[in-house]
Structures are given as structure tokens and as C-alpha cells.
Point group: C2
Chain length 334, copies 2
DNA sequence: CCCGCCCTTGCAATCGGTTGCAAAAACAAC
DNA sequence: GTTGTTTTTGCAACCGATTGCAAGGGCGGG
């Protein structure tokens, strides 16, 4: 039933090699042969088997896209961009959902079985060691949204989380907030740790207190804020480690009768689409998701090309997006 | 560098066939040989190449997951469940993003190139013809969230959209609403058409008016509701063709000073996670996403097994989820 | 101890392409 | 027309597995 190279060769009256070459850009084929082959292929509806070709060339054009974050809406945007970016380059994403198990071994085995050209780990909650496991298994791997270290063990693309923390601190300080606090994602996530460290570092006064939600999700943000409110009055303003967390916190605050930004200020991080929805109007720090993903794909391909490549870190600057959950800047003194 | 079957055979001191058989459940191997092979494989860190095996067996365990809906948050849940469901069965999702182009030909070619075992089209906006294109190309295809017809051209799994429309109509009528309207997604989407038809069918009075947002998205729902409000006062209640649309409409209504459910009622469809978030509390009709996805996978596998299978439709019942965007039922008359 | 049967095993062909190599063809220059 | 050079082309081996077939080995029964 399926049409193979042999069928095309037979019909075009040429050898199998000729057909193969006609489909290989840059191979040595005369215009005449190519025309014959293309015609035969069209008539037969031939599509070369990527599997068979991968077997000899060693390249599958398959990219493993690994994530554990299927509850943060920002990841829908992330998947959208990854899949489109890969498709534009003629690559195919093989999606791996790590939600059930954080054990790398299983996914390593399966990605090796399919001999993916490269793996992209898209997660801000997985430790650097995780991506390392892929590397040690001989896979070309890039960690997107990971922790950016001086001497990374695998290439990392993302933002300078500490710098974002400082930006949040300065933003709050400039608006005259005094008693501020941090509400982060899981304490074990490197992104949480770095954002907090930067926040404390950039804050002019005593280190602000910190609380941690159990996950990067609405429910977790809401629950943690509720717990916090039960223990006492809220701070004047919160830096939340993530937008969806901010929204959860926001809902808890408003339910408890606090006006935002009248009584309490909130600043998030990500600028996911939803943050701009009317009704939320979340002031936040934008993470340039598109640029991060484009760079991740580029790095992954470079690494696939040259496995000995020195791991490098690519950082992208974040920008403040002012909306309506912080009080405005005081008018400049005359 | 990569370990192959030959290496294992050499090390275990057996033939390549023996190794292959040791990894094939049900093949004829003695316990002794199997032990030798397993030991050698373990020591070498051998993982059989799925590609090579696919070449001879004709099965790749790759499933094409095709969607064009990367802006409706409910699809993050959908992807989560699909990937997990497939992984549990030892299958791998090859994700295809159709956002750029609605032309099936391109994606058909690429899915054939990778000889996926089956394709699942997950979309409520693509026409039945779309999945048909896959089928005609000889691919085993199932349409998830598609239109459920009496004699489907490809297997379809989803809900009875017309029944949902009727349920919405009855729900609104029971609460004493009189002037109601429909706010749907793209008019061309079959889901929109069927929901509207059912809504009108189930409505006791004159057919309610209908409006259509340009997409299943927050922005589109909000824009359409704003346009509607500019033209005159709102209806007493709206049946929105989708939750995210409802949220957009809700935000437009509240911005315009209307209280929900005080002034206007809203009922959605899907019951995505976000619908339950505090602050939204959307009354909606729940679509059993988990069951639909499980059935889709089952059907896809059956079809892959037996390509001649008669296409069938699997419908799942929806249930009303009462939250806070409709006025309560009137107390029963004594 | 011999025979027959069944379970194991290895050989070799196959899946659908790719590619190095050498022969053949095309072309240019003389 | 001959010679030399550059393309084009086909042959055949190979990528890493699977599998039908026939030979080999183990085992029970006589």
C-alpha cells in the first residue's frame, strides 16, 4: 500500500539512488532525471520515510520537548511557540509530560529509543541536575526557563531571575511601599530561590519575609495567601513569583475584603496573556517568552550539530509592564 | 557511540536474533539466553532503536496529535491528559500545531513521513472534512471534540452539542429568564452551529438571537460583548459557546456596569479549570474531557489495529455545574 | 542407547532509505 | 576524432532492527 522509493524508481525508470538524490538537496542529479523522478513521485503520491532515512543519516528531525508544567496557563503559550518554531525549521516536537514522575531515567530511555536530535527541557521548576541526566545519556539538551549559572552544565536559556527580583524590589520601593513580602512558587524551584534572593538583594530595608506556594498554580497561590491572611494583616505589597500565583493571591485578597491596589499592591512575573485580561490588569514583569524559545531552538540545533559545544547561558532582559495592581509612582518632587 | 543490538549480541555471545527475541515479549527464548542478553544489555546501557524496529514491524508507536487551538486554556488540560494517556499506553505524541495553516496536505505529508500509527485531531473548530483528508491519505484518524454525526466519515468522540444547547436553554428557562441570547465562537465552527441549534430547539419561546465571536478566546468574547452592548441593552442571560468566551463576555459586562448575575446571567460550556477560580465562579456545562480523551485514544488504537473498522461516534453526557453567574432556581411552588 | 518431538537458535532476507566508489556519459578543448 | 575533465549514474554495502525457515540441541519414552 505505501509507496516506496523503489516504486518511484521503477516508474521513473531510474535507479533507487537517483530517486534518493533527487530528494536530497545539494546532491548530484541532472535536471532531466530530477524532473522524471519528481513527476513519478507526484503521480504515485510518494512521501519519503523519515524513519528509514533517519536510520542511515542518524538525524530524525525529532526534538524531545519535555515539561512538567501543564497547569500554568503560560505554558500553553510556550507550547504554541515551541511547536511553531520547530515546525518552521522542519522539525517535529515529541512531547513528553513529566507530571507523573520526576525520574529522568524513563524519559531518557524513551528519547534515546526514538533517537531525537535534541531535547529541550522547558521548566522553571526542575533542578539543573535534571537536564544533566539527559546530557550524561549522550543527548543534546537545552534547559529553557532554567537557572542561569556562571558555568552551566548544560546550555540554559532564560531570564536573570535575581535581576527580576531586584527590579520588583526597586519598583515597589519607588512607589513608596515599606512593608513588602515575597510570595513564591515551590521553595525547591531554583526560579523561586533566585527571584527571592534578588528581591531581598534589591530591597533597601531589612530582608522582606517570604512565603512559598506549593506549586505554580492559581489554587496554590490563593491557598497560600489565605493562610497568610489568617495569620495576620497582609503586607503593603507582594512580589509574586509568577503571574498565575499572583492571580490566585489577588482573588484571596479581594475575597477577604482588601482592595488592590488600594489596600495591597501586587506585582507578578511572566506577563502571560491572562495577566492583561480586563478584570485582572496585573502589573507584572514581562519575560520575553518568544525570544527565549527561539534561542532555545537555536542552541538545541547547534548542540545537535556539535555535541562538544561548550554549554553557554543565554539571558534575556525583562521589562516592567505597568497595569493596575500597584499604586502609581508619586509625582516627582518639584 | 550508540549501543546497538549487534554489540549486545557480541557481548552476550549469542546471535542478533536472540537479542531481538529477548526483547520481544512472547518470542521463543530460553531463560538462560534471556538472562545472558539482559545482563549484557544492562551492562552496555542498551536501548533498542524504535526507528529501526518500526521499519520492520510497521508500527512506530507514534501518535500524531493535531490541534489548532493554542489560545483556549482548556487545551492545556487537553494536552496534559492526552500526553499522559498516551504515555501510559507506551505511545508517544507527535504534536502538530495547525495555527498557521488550515491546509491539511502539509501535515498529512509529514505525518505519513513519520508513519505515525494513528492521528488524533483535537479541535472543535475544524470541519469534519479536515479529518477526512487524513483518512483519505490512509492514516488512522480520530476526531476528538468534533461534530457527532449519525454516519460519521471518521470516528468522532465528543459531546452532543445540540443536547448541550438544549440543556442551556432549559436551565435558563427554569430560572425564569425570558429574553436570552446566544454568544458563540466562530460561526463556521460546527460546535458553534450545533450548540446554537440545540439552544434554539430547547428554548420554549421564539428563537433567541445569536452573535458570534471571531474565535474561542477571551479577547474575542469580550470584544463581541462590547460590540453588542454598544448596540443596545444586553439580554437577560447569555448562553456562551465556551468558557473562555464567557469570561471575556463577563468582563465586558462588568466593565459596563452590569452586575452578574444580578442584571445579566451567563452560562458557559466546558468547565475548564479556570471557570471554577474564585472571582469567576462561572456556571457552566461540563464537558467530560477526561473520558473523551480516553475514548479517543482507545478508538485510535482500535483503528490502527483494524483500518477497515467502521467509523463510529462516541458521545459523552454533559452535566450542569452550578456556580454563581446565573440567578438561583425559584423556590418550588408549594 | 536410540528415536522422535519440540523448543532454541542462527542464518539470511527484509524493512526504506543513504552513500562511497567506480563506471559511464557528457562536455570541452585540441 | 581523440584526449582529458567533470557530471551523472548505478551498484552494493550499510543503518538497526525483525522474522521465516531450517538446523541444532535437549529431553522423554521405549
Amino acid at each position: 500500500m505505501p509507496v516506496t522509493l523503489k516504486d518511484v524508481a521503477l516508474r521513473a525508470g531510474v535507479s533507487r539512488s537517483a530517486v534518493s538524490r533527487a530528494f536530497t538537496p545539494g546532491a548530484s542529479v541532472s535536471a532531466k532525471t530530477r524532473a522524471k523522478v519528481e513527476r513519478a513521485a507526484r503521480e504515485l503520491g510518494y512521501a519519503p520515510s523519515a524513519l528509514a532515512s533517519a536510520l542511515s543519516t542518524g538525524r530524525t528531525k525529532l526534538i524531545g520537548l519535555v515539561s512538567n508544567n501543564f497547569h500554568n496557563p503560560v505554558f500553553l503559550e510556550v507550547f504554541d511557540r515551541f511547536t511553531r518554531g520547530l515546525q518552521e525549521r522542519g522539525l517535529r516536537p515529541l512531547l513528553v509530560n513529566l507530571s507523573d514522575e520526576t525520574d529522568a531515567a524513563q524519559s531518557v530511555r524513551m528519547l534515546r529509543q526514538y533517537s531525537v536530535d535534541a531535547v529541550i527541557v522547558a521548566s522553571s521548576t526542575l533542578p539543573p541536575d535534571f537536564a544533566l541526566a539527559y546530557r550524561e545519556a549522550g543527548l543534546a539538551v537545552v534547559h529553557s526557563f532554567g537557572r542561569c549559572e556562571q558555568h552551566p552544565v548544560v546550555p540554559v536559556v532564560g531570564i536573570d531571575n535575581a535581576a527580576c527580583g531586584r527590579m520588583a524590589a526597586q519598583t515597589l520601593a519607588a512607589r513608596g511601599y515599606r512593608r513588602v513580602a515575597f510570595l513564591g512558587g515551590p521553595e525547591s524551584a531554583t526560579s523561586t530561590q533566585d527571584r527571592l534572593a534578588g528581591f531581598r538583594d534589591g530591597w533597601p530595608g531589612a530582608p522582606p519575609p517570604a512565603r512559598f506556594a506549593s506549586a505554580y498554580s492559581f489554587a496554590a497561590g490563593r491557598a497560600e495567601m489565605q493562610r497568610l491572611l489568617r495569620e495576620g494583616p497582609p503586607a503593603e505589597a507582594y512580589f509574586c513569583g509568577d503571574d498565575v500565583l499572583s492571580l490566585g493571591a489577588l482573588s484571596a485578597l479581594r475575597d477577604a475584603g482588601y482592595d488592590v491596589p488600594g489596600d495591597v499592591g501586587v506585582i507578578g512575573l511572566n506577563d502571560m496573556e491572562m495577566a492583561g485580561w480586563a478584570g485582572f490588569d496585573l502589573t507584572t514583569i514581562r519575560q520575553p517568552v518568544g525570544a527565549i524559545i527561539a534561542a532555545s531552538i537555536d542552541l538545541a540545533l547547534m548542540l545537535a550539530e556539535d555535541p562538544a559545544m561548550q554549554p553557554e547561558t543565554r539571558l534575556f532582559p525583562c521589562t516592567l509592564i505597568e497595569r493596575a495592581t500597584l499604586r502609581p509612582l508619586p509625582a516627582a518632587a518639584p
